[in-house]
Structure formats: structure tokens, C-alpha cells
């Protein structure tokens, strides 16, 4: 009996955290998968096991494909740009420049603001006629433009907002990583005659790879996870042109109350995220040097 005491104590210590995790993460995840095989219960008709029917419906659902396509465009539009911008800003504010603290603060501000506030600021920018963009445009004689009301521009508008919001956040990680790189390395390279670009390409960038991997995984997850601005700015419209996958799940689950189908959509989203994250680790891990 005495032999098991430390074990019991250990498990007891883990219990509170384990209960919370199971209750709010693991059980819902498993339940989602389970529910995705059932039809949605409707007045008087209980949920029935329907196997893969929800998934079959999904294949024929044009809005699902539209949301998936939108999300792919959204991810490709936001991830590379926000990471590149973050790196550029970090390199800039890492240098010895005047007003460095103010610049860092300025770049980081969008991250601190709540998304709902950000969305409202940008709503004003995009407003046709008297919004900031149209006002600036009118100085150069450009016509009015309904940025968020147009199928062709609405997704691009959301991409710009997201890049603006995310880049500052990623910059902080790059900045922290840059400060870990000893300035002596730069001096050693200078003695050898390496220019700034050569030094960045052969030393700085490879040394930042762990950060890049981390930021990339986060950026991918965020591109599927961030929908606050869709809710606040477009509600997926016009004509689903700005519907992202998670927003569509929200619509299906909590506005149309088709919980079974929403569960199936969620499972697909989780699988996509898992595959992407795994792929990034497997492909990039080999090229990453950890200190």
C-alpha cells in the first residue's frame, strides 16, 4: 500500500487541471466527432445516427466550398505578408534609431486593441463616400468605392485588417529572438567582409528559424481561428464572399441551429489544422537550428 502513496498523491495533484482539461477540451472534442455522425435533433425528433451523411452533405454544399476557398485565400494573403512585415519591423526597431521605444509601441498597438475596436476603426476607413480611404482617394480624383460591399474587394479588405492586427504581435517574437543574437556575430561577419544582406541571409535568418516556425504555426492557426472582424464588419457577406470556415460553422451551429452539421464542419476544420501544423513541423523541423 505504501508503495502507491506517492502515485496517489501525484494523481491528486494533477486532478484539478485534468478535470478542467477533460471537461472543457477533451470531452468537447471527442463529443464533436461523435455528434458529427448524428442528425440534428428537432422538435420532437431525437438525433439519429446517420453515419457519414453530414460529410456527404458537406461535399455538395457550395457555401462550405466557398468558405474553404475564402479561407485558403485569406490564409495565403495574411500569413506570408504579416510574417515578412513582422520581420522587417523587428529588424528596423532592433537597430539603433531615434525614437526606438515609440516605434516599438506603435507597431505593437494594433495587437493590444480588441478586435471589435479594430473592426470599427477599419469600418470607418472603408466606408463609402466619407470613409478615410475614399476621402484620400477623392483628393486624387478617384471615384467612390464600396470596399466591403463588393464581392471582389471584401476579402482583400479583411486581409489588410488582419495583417495590420497580426504583424505587430509577430514582431514582438522576432524582436525577442533578434536580441538573443549576439552582436559579436555581426562584428565577426563585418571583419570577414560580409554585407548586411549576406549576413541576414546566412546568419540572422537561419538563427531566427525557430521563431519563424513558431510564428508560422500561430499564423496558420489564427488564419482559421480569427473571425471577430468578419462578425463585426461583413457577417460573411456580400453573398458569402467573406465567409471564412469558422464563421460558417458559427452560422450553421448558432444561427441555423444545425448542430450535427456544424459538428461535422468543425471536425473538418480540426483535421485541416492538425495536418497543416504537423506538416510544418515535419518539413521545417529539419531546417531549424535550436540553440
Amino acid at each position: 500500500m505504501r508503495r502507491f502513496e506517492p502515485q496517489i498523491q501525484g494523481w491528486l495533484l494533477l486532478l484539478p487541471a485534468a478535470v478542467l482539461l477533460v471537461a472543457f477540451t477533451h470531452y468537447p472534442a471527442v463529443a464533436t466527432v461523435w455528434h458529427s455522425f448524428f442528425s440534428t435533433a428537432r422538435g420532437g425528433r431525437a438525433a439519429q445516427f446517420i453515419g457519414l451523411d453530414n460529410y456527404r452533405d458537406m461535399m455538395d454544399d457550395p457555401v462550405f466550398w466557398q468558405a474553404l476557398r475564402n479561407n485558403a485565400v485569406f490564409a495565403l494573403g495574411t500569413i506570408p505578408v504579416s510574417i515578412a512585415l513582422a520581420l522587417l519591423m523587428a529588424l528596423w526597431v532592433n537597430g539603433r534609431i531615434l525614437g526606438r521605444g515609440m516605434l516599438r509601441l506603435a507597431f505593437f498597438t494594433p495587437t493590444v486593441l480588441p478586435m471589435i475596436a479594430v473592426a470599427n476603426i477599419w469600418l470607418f476607413f472603408y466606408t463609402p463616400g466619407y470613409g478615410l480611404i475614399d476621402q484620400l482617394g477623392s483628393l486624387f480624383g478617384l471615384p467612390e468605392h464600396n470596399w466591403l460591399g463588393n464581392r471582389d474587394t471584401v476579402l482583400g479588405c479583411l486581409i489588410v485588417v488582419t495583417v495590420w492586427k497580426e504583424a505587430g504581435f509577430f514582431m514582438i517574437f522576432y524582436l525577442a529572438a533578434l536580441q538573443q543574437i549576439s552582436p559579436v556575430l555581426g562584428e565577426a561577419a563585418a571583419v570577414e567582409g560580409a554585407g548586411r544582406w549576406y549576413f541576414f541571409r546566412r546568419v540572422t535568418f537561419p538563427l531566427l528559424m525557430p521563431t519563424t516556425l513558431f510564428v508560422l504555426v500561430n499564423a496558420v492557426i489564427n488564419s482559421f481561428r480569427l473571425v471577430d472582424h468578419v462578425v463585426a464588419m461583413t457577417k460573411g457577406g456580400p453573398d458569402n464572399a467573406s465567409a471564412l470556415l469558422l464563421y460558417y460553422i458559427y452560422d450553421v451551429g448558432f444561427r441555423f441551429w444545425d448542430t450535427g452539421y456544424a459538428a461535422a464542419l468543425t471536425v473538418v476544420l480540426l483535421v485541416i489544422l492538425a495536418v497543416l501544423a504537423l506538416g510544418q513541423f515535419l518539413i521545417l523541423e529539419r531546417r531549424v537550428h535550436y540553440q
Binding site: S182, L185, E187, A188, E192, G193, A194, P206, H289, Q291
Partner: protein, 351 residues
């Protein structure tokens, strides 16, 4: 023609002068050590020569060429940093070849030079490793390899051995000296360790507060220190500097020149004995002053015992109390000075 010539170089940050009008030359193929306590400006001087800092005033020539305003890469120098500054993500071979790649040296030539340098430093079997997989001494060799593969005429070293343990430091000292002589490099070597300076250098430049205290060969630095500071900085234990009755003069006696004897000029009391094996350092109380004596082997006297001390008069150094500068550059010390010290101490003991 000297390989490196530093002319009236000053480096100023606001009000502080880290380097203050320093001038010296280093002969081609010689090893010159910049020596001094921390904050004396020796590293800054080296960084000015490397071009990593810009001089506020003065000129620097390397191989006769004025390089004062040239970037580091165009000065014809290689450098070894205190922290080695190896690129952590590159292998040993890539680290050593870094500069050659930058300068676009052809691959065949790179391979030839890498093989040569790896052979010289015994790195052949470590070429594919990353710096983190090497010991401190091996990292040091890689840093050395990166410096010598450039085949630059001047090699600058900033406290290259200070991160190694004592044993390894000794070995590397000899090895660096041998390498420098074999390759005929001019080497400027910064250290705060006087024994490193004494054992390696052709020429030692002792710095203090951004100025040159003395610029001389190791033997000259030891035998005829130009100032009381130089006298105390070189040698372990340091030279005894005693006040004399003549307030303007300081007396300096090296511990190994003091003899403990039955008969001697001065009465003293033993304070402590530090036994070191080959010799012992004896702390003697001489009135109010403390004098260190270095005697061979063991001392068979207890602490507190009365002894008499003597020293050859010609081994006494005299310094100006106000400026610290050596007074007796040509004449031998006046006999009165040593005599007078004994009398003064006797008086102090009696009173």
C-alpha cells in the same frame, strides 16, 4: 616598415576618453601584447585598429596604408573574439570558410586552405560538428582557424584565452605563439593577464586609463619598470613599493630580491607565510608597512617570529612619489636611500 602603426589615436565617448592619445608601432612578424587592468582601453584600442569603432582623432596605418576610415574588411586584418563569435548554426568547416565564401574564393582553393588550417589546428575530425558540440578549447581553435585561413598579414586577438581553464590556457598560449611564429603573422594580442603577456610577447604595451604606461620588451618591462604602476602590475607577487622619509621618493623592491637572514639591514616580524611548493611568499611587517618576500622552498619560522631583511642595493627601484615615474634611469640608487629606510623603520619600531 612597421606592420601596424597607431598615431596619437583617441576614442572619446562624451566626456570620457577610453583611449587617450595612444601611439605605438608593431614590427612585422612580431607578437605585441596590449596589457592592462580592465577599463584601461586595451580592447577599445584593438577595436579601433580592427575598425569596429571609429577613432575620434589620430591615424592608424596597417602595412603602410592609412586605414583610419576604412571598414574592417578592407584593413587586411583577421580577428579572434573573446567569446569566439562562432556562428552556432554552421558547422566547424562552414565557420572557418565563412570569410572565404564572402570573398568568393573558388571552391578548390577553399578546400585546399581548409585542409591546411584543419591540419595545423588538429580540427580534421571535427569539421562536420556544430560549435555547441565542441569543448571550449576546440571552439577556441575554430575561432583561430577562421582567423588564420584569411591569411591576413595582421591578426588581432581580444582576450582569446580568458574563457578557458588554467591548464588549457597554458597549452593554447604556447600553441598560439608557435603558430604565430610559424606563419610569420603580426599579432596584436589583448590580455589582462601579465603572465600571458610576459611569456608570449615580443613587445608589451602596458595601458592605464587610456594612456600608454610603458612600451617595451618583456624583460625591460620587468627589469626597469618605467612607473610604479608598471612595477606593481608585472610580477607575482607584485613589487613592494615603500614610502621613504624623503616624501618625494618611493622605493621599489621585488619580493624575490629580499633575503631573510640572521643579519640584515632591517628588522621585521613575520605576518603570514604562503607556501607554494617551489617557493613561499612571506608577508613581513615592517613598522607600519607590509613587505612581501619570496623565498625558495619552505620557511622554517612561525608567524610572529622576528627576522631581519636585506636586499642588494642595486636592485632597489626609485620612483617619483608625485608622478610615479622612475627616477633613477641611469644612476644606481643612492646608498642613502636603502640605509635611510632601515633607520626609519627601526625608529618606528623603537617608538
Amino acid at each position: 616598415m612597421s606592420a601596424v602603426a597607431v598615431e596619437e589615436v583617441t576614442k572619446q565617448w562624451g566626456e570620457t576618453r577610453a583611449v587617450d592619445g595612444v601611439s605605438f608601432t608593431a614590427a612585422a612578424g612580431s607578437l605585441v601584447v596590449l596589457l592592462g587592468p580592465s577599463g584601461c582601453g586595451k580592447s577599445t584600442t584593438l577595436r579601433l585598429i580592427a575598425g569596429l569603432e571609429a577613432a575620434s582623432a589620430g591615424r592608424i596605418r596597417i602595412a603602410g596604408r592609412d586605414v583610419t576610415h576604412l571598414p574592417p574588411a578592407r584593413r587586411g586584418i583577421a580577428m579572434v573574439f573573446q567569446s569566439y563569435a562562432l556562428f552556432p548554426h554552421l558547422t566547424v568547416a562552414e565557420n572557418i570558410l565563412f570569410g572565404l565564401r564572402v570573398r568568393k574564393v573558388p571552391a578548390a582553393e577553399r578546400r585546399r586552405r581548409l585542409a591546411k588550417v584543419a591540419g595545423l589546428l588538429g580540427l580534421e575530425r571535427l569539421l562536420e560538428r556544430k560549435p555547441a558540440q565542441l569543448s571550449g578549447g576546440q571552439q577556441q581553435r575554430v575561432a583561430l582557424g577562421r582567423a588564420i585561413i584569411a591569411e591576413a598579414p595582421v591578426c588581432l586577438m581580444d582576450e582569446p584565452l580568458s574563457n578557458l581553464d588554467a591548464q588549457l590556457r597554458h597549452e593554447m598560449r604556447r600553441e598560439i605563439r608557435a603558430l604565430q611564429q610559424k606563419l610569420g603573422m603580426t599579432m596584436l594580442y589583448v590580455t589582462h593577464d601579465q603572465s600571458e603577456a610576459m611569456s608570449m610577447a615580443d613587445q608589451v604595451i602596458l595601458l592605464r586609463g587610456g594612456r600608454i604606461e610603458q612600451d617595451a620588451a618583456p624583460a625591460a618591462l620587468y627589469d626597469r619598470p618605467a612607473t610604479a604602476f608598471a612595477a606593481r602590475f608585472i610580477g607575482t607577487p607584485p613589487m613592494n613599493i615603500l614610502r621613504s622619509a624623503d616624501a618625494g621618493v618611493l622605493l621599489g623592491i621585488r619580493p624575490e630580491d629580499i633575503v631573510l637572514a640572521e643579519r640584515g639591514d632591517v628588522a621585521a616580524r613575520i605576518g603570514a607565510i604562503e607556501y607554494l611548493g617551489a617557493d613561499s611568499t612571506v608577508t613581513c611587517m615592517l613598522g607600519g608597512e607590509t613587505v612581501l618576500a619570496r623565498v625558495q622552498g619552505r620557511v622554517g619560522l612561525p608567524a610572529g617570529a622576528a627576522v631581519r631583511l636585506s636586499w642588494p642595493r642595486e636592485r632597489v627601484h626609485l620612483f617619483d612619489a608625485a608622478t610615479g615615474r622612475r627616477l633613477d634611469d641611469t644612476m644606481s640608487p643612492p646608498p642613502a636611500a636603502a640605509q635611510e629606510l632601515g633607520e626609519r623603520v627601526a625608529a618606528a619600531a623603537g617608538g
